[in-house]
Amino acid sequence: MEGFRYMDGVATLRLDVAACTGCGMCGEVCPHGVFAVAEGKARILDGDACMECGGCALNCPAKAISVNPGVGCAAAIMNGWFSGSKPSCGCGG
């Protein structure tokens, strides 16, 4: 995203190119332009821009994408630490 970059080398996004059918859904749903789809295959163009929302993995009919999805929210992660469950936030905004 222009003007905004978060930390590099942390996103858990993985693409299994062999399983990819090139349908293009990942490119359509990604709000950060992480994917490029050409010649029947998707590829990860900018993995560090991934915010791990999980939209691409959920909408991949070939199940070629894996990501550990969640909310990128400090309060949610602290809630998760204290309650010992999945991070969940109060949806701040």
Binding site: M1, E2, G3, T12, A74, G93
Partner: protein
Amino acid sequence: MDGNGIRTFVRDRYADIAREGTSCCAATSSCGCGGTPSKGLPLYEDTFLDGQVETPIGPVPHVHSRIGRQDILGRWRVRWGIGRDRYRVAPGLYALGAPDGSAPVLVTANYKMTFDIVRRDASGLDAWILVLDTRGVNVWCAAGEGTFGTEEVIRGVTRARLSEVVRHRRLILPQLAAPGVAAHEVRKGCGFSVVYGPVRARDIRAFLEAGMKASPSMRTVVFPTTDRLVLTPIEITGSLRPAGWSAAGLFLLAGVGPGIFSPGAAWERGLAAAAALAAGILSGAVATPVLLPWLPGRSFSVKGGIAGGVLAACAVMWRRGSLEASAALALLLAVTAVSSFVAMNFTGATPFTSPSGVEKEMRRALPVQAGMAVLAGLLWVGGAFYR
């Protein structure tokens, strides 16, 4: 049906949902955001309903695109965190303009602020608006929590008897619903295919005019200064409770000195400490979000720490005649630590931070923030003994 009739009709939708007993947030663990089905809530239908249209399944309420004073007041109220959970519209099908069996179906959340934006930005269109029960939460958060999810889309389509209202079998979903909705599963579940529309409702007309094609800019989230600014009030109101407890603790600590406890010192030194706390919170919750792209560093704790440090340095310069060295150092450390911590919490309001990144940042930043706060406290309390 007259005006009262259509109101009763919309209200009955809540009763239907209550009867069917939709599963609450059980599937998504501890959900802090409006985890109740939309029933028994204040209703705002008078601000957007202006009649009804006849359809093969009977009358459907008609909405207009005007945003009135009540809508604006309501938006301000929820921006400050007042009654946000209860700011909802009844889920179900609505008509905008003069839609027929071939009109597009726009699917959205039942947070009233979201609904208002959709009916405003879709002005001039003849469309159906299918409002899902997202427990009064916006599209993005509801998708993340799973309430704007595959099952809710299927349920909404079925309950609205959409297949009897429109001849086509296509839904337009906001792109940011994708983390909750598997398009191919929706098709299997109710026969309607999902087309992801633009991120922002204001692009919906251009999207439809282009034959349901989104340009790359329609597909990309941005985070301009105004968007960051409108999120700052909720950051402040959200920090009030912990800030109140912290201030109470500071006032107690302020009285500690050579005379064991001095109420006079508690008041005087406590006020100064509370002011430092407030400065740290404002720096982290307002200054850092607004200045976000210009503050150095990638992590929010660094950006917030720098904003707080600069602010505290200015305060020290301003009061340099009356501040002792230990107090000045304590002020610098405390404001930096508080601002850094509060800024880190803004990650939840941004559309570009990944949970892996936030966790990594927190593991690094929390010990530093805690260390600085403890050191500040020691310097400050210790200073009372060595004047």
